[in-house]
Amino acid sequence: MKPDAVRVLQGVSLSLLTQVLPEVATPFGQQTTSVAAGLAAMVGEEFDRAADRLVAENGAVRTILRDAMPLLAADLQASVTRALGTSAAGYRVSALQAENDALRGALVDVHAAIGAIDSDAARAIDGRIWEELVESTRRREWTMRIT
């Protein structure tokens, strides 16, 4: 058993702040050391949650896109269908992120189109997209304190 990545990066961060920073003489060096410490801590948190966040978000966006489909013009339906056909092969974060990019790119187009439609169904989808956008930012909030 080895220390997990989150703990390793926490250790890197703490080491930089408590052991290295006091030894750094210049303000520029001190700032760079502090930035490295903060970044290591954030990357650690992201390492642990990225796949879970992306799987959850990709599922949520897929559902909205599918439900919006009947309201869309034919050309947009075609591009959304292509986006829905994108699926990560495996659970590498880079693959899940590529799927997320395709789906969120389609979401941008659908949001713009839906906003121009005057119907209750469109307004309902619009509301769900805004909810998803808010939720997407909550998924990305840091639980660690960033200094």
């Binding site: 520029f28 700032q31 970044l39 954030m42 941008v108 949001h111 805004w130 930012t137």
Partner: protein, 339 residues
């Protein structure tokens, strides 16, 4: 860098002998240009002179791609006015001398610009005075007559009607080019802004472009002694600067107060009284929301530069990790979509 700087100064200062550069050190921050301070000494007509100077050099990649000639013109135009700025010395476009174009200016000594220091004693007691001066100087920038100055020769001049559209299109184009992943929140923000334009600008003014706590020099005498970082300066709607100073990214005390030093309404009141201009509420709201778009353009540009290996300045990666999401949340709150 001491040697090329010394050679440069020797060529630039007439009759200078025994030119030396000492105490060269990089100043933290400065995500758009590398900023270095140093002491330059030389002998002329038998007299030894020592001057504290600053060199601002273009890095290989940064948060911004701006023309140092434009920044130099703004500094030069405001020198000797109500708006305190350091005196410009030399502008150099030859990238071979220091590894990038640069300019050299005098250093205003004995000042702070730290965003945490201003929150703590003794400066916390001086915040009302510093805030008053901050927004009075901003009013002076807004009402500055730029016609016939160096600014006019380096800037595109918008109309009162086009100022908002020009800025929105400029930053939208940057996001188009720089985003590493789709940005649905900021795209929705841009659509909202386009659908709800502000009133035409009351005047076409100088816009500093990055006016906030952190970009001015202050002392414990309670005065501001230098307005810095003019790299995003342009001509436009003066409300842009006022709104920018309110953005949550520089609410350093995390208490909703601009810069952590003043209540928003008080800042508006000072600015209106000093400028004679009006901060129309709906228009100011538009410009505040716009600042989220502009910030996002800056953060995304830095993120791409780092991702593509154009730079290994880890500050750019930190900005992407720490600010892109909070900027989205700021925009969602401003549009009433998030509490």
């Amino acid at each position: 860098m001491e040697e090329p700087l010394t050679r440069y100064l020797r060529a630039r200062i007439p009759d200078a002998e025994d030119v030396t550069v000492s105490d060269l050190s990089r100043i933290p921050g400065g995500a758009s240009r590398e900023t270095w301070m140093f002491e330059a000494s030389w002998t002329s007509a038998g007299e030894r002179t020592t001057t504290p100077l600053i060199v601002r050099k273009d890095p290989p990649a940064s948060l911004l791609d701006t023309d140092r000639e434009v920044e130099y013109a703004f500094y030069s135009s405001f020198y000797g006015t109500r708006v305190p700025v350091p005196r410009m010395c030399w502008l150099e476009a030859d990238a071979t001398i220091l590894g990038g174009p640069f300019f050299i200016m005098e250093r205003i000594v004995g000042c702070e610009n730290n965003t945490r220091v201003i929150l703590a004693p003794p400066y916390s007691a001086l915040q009302p005075q510093l805030a008053r001066e901050m927004y009075e100087i901003l009013a002076a920038i807004a009402t500055f007559d730029w016609h016939g100055s160096a600014i006019e020769s380096v800037c595109r001049v918008p109309t009162a009607d086009s100022a908002w559209r020009d800025e929105l299109e400029h930053w939208e184009a940057i996001i188009d080019e720089e985003e590493l992943s789709p940005q649905p929140v900021i795209r929705a923000t841009i659509r909202w802004l386009r659908a709800h334009p502000p009133r035409p600008a009351q005047r076409v003014s100088v816009v500093h472009g990055d006016y906030r706590v952190g970009n001015f020099l202050y002392r414990d005498d309670g005065h501001i002694h230098g307005i810095l970082d003019w790299e995003m300066a342009h001509l436009g709607d003066p409300l842009e600067d006022l709104a920018w100073s309110f953005n949550q990214s520089w609410q350093w005390a995390r208490d909703g107060r601009p810069g952590g030093i003043v209540e928003r309404d008080e800042a508006v009141r000072i600015w209106e009284a000093a400028s004679g201009l009006t901060a129309d509420a709906a228009s100011l709201h538009w410009w505040e929301l716009f600042t989220d778009v502009k910030c996002q353009g800056i953060w995304l540009k830095g993120a791409r530069a780092f991702q593509e290996g154009k730079t290994s300045e880890i500050f750019l990666a930190l900005v992407a990790y720490s600010l892109v999401n909070t900027q989205d949340q700021s925009a969602l709150r401003a549009m009433g979509k998030m509490s």
